[in-house]
Symmetry: C2
Subunit: 144 residues, 2 copies
DNA sequence: TATTGTTATACTCTATAACTATA
DNA sequence: TATAGTTATAGAGTATAACAATA
């Protein structure tokens, strides 16, 4: 089977991304954490009292989709909301959220290490800078 | 807003992939072509008379999801089915499919060129090899 | 007027299970 | 028994539109 897509960086990028997503998703499944929930917990931990619109902008999740996500985390007592003004609330991790995020971080570190290990040594140091450049370029073009 | 995810290759990979998907998807929209449809058309063109299960395996689309996709392409007279045996049919592009794919290829080439142009020159040659290594590694682990 | 949070809704992609008919 | 194609269904992520309450 000839694959004319195999030499297209954009296509291979999407294929790798899907595999990476499935892998990490499976690793997080025992914690009952979706990828989107994990990334939001990481952002809340790093930016206590930021509101959910700001967190959503940082992880590229729309306000409309943040509402049910945050509601799930709150219902599980992983996070809490602290009123800031009449229309916005700051988000903070609760003890259970800190604990769960600690476990998640262990899984993520193992995952990221395994990921980089699969890149041939000559190319390894170039991966993150190349991807970061593409990310920043896309932010300017699409979302910024 | 501090982003602790920005240094994780796996996370940045998924963010870039999402941006890349949105970009290419928008470019293909005028042709009324989804990304999955475009990749299937490319594979059919390169492998005439392959059946839809084989095509699906090559592009990582499950048989169950190939059925409606192929039905859409056939309904638009972009492809046709040639009976091979009683249970399988070979797929071929029709004239309209060739024409549409020709237009798509132009858009894809422009897209891939623009993509690589955004990668700093020192990293550029390393991107596809690094991604390809990750792709092959994931095929062995996940799907193979 | 603009922003926060919310609800409703829809689309794309992906996944499993179960069925038929053929090999 | 295994495979090709199909249908039904569900989950995850993402998108827009619209609204109430507040800044």
């Amino acid at each position: 089977m000839h694959d004319p897509l195999a030499h297209l960086p954009g296509y291979v990028l999407r294929r790798v991304s899907a595999a990476v997503r499935d892998d990490l998703s499976a690793r997080l499944a025992p914690l009952d954490l979706r990828l989107s929930e994990m990334s939001v917990l990481m952002l809340i931990a790093a930016n206590p009292d930021a509101n959910q619109s700001d967190i959503g902008r940082a992880v590229a999740i729309k306000r409309a989709n943040m509402a049910p996500l945050i509601a799930r985390l709150e219902a599980r007592r992983l996070i809490t909301r602290v009123p800031i003004d009449g229309r916005s609330q700051g988000l903070r991790l609760l003890a259970a959220g800190e604990a769960l995020l600690g476990e998640a971080r262990g899984l993520i570190d193992a995952f990221e290490t395994a990921l980089l290990a699969r890149v041939p040594a000559v190319h390894r140091a170039h991966l993150l800078p190349a991807l970061t450049a593409l990310w920043q370029a896309s932010e300017g073009a699409v979302q910024g």
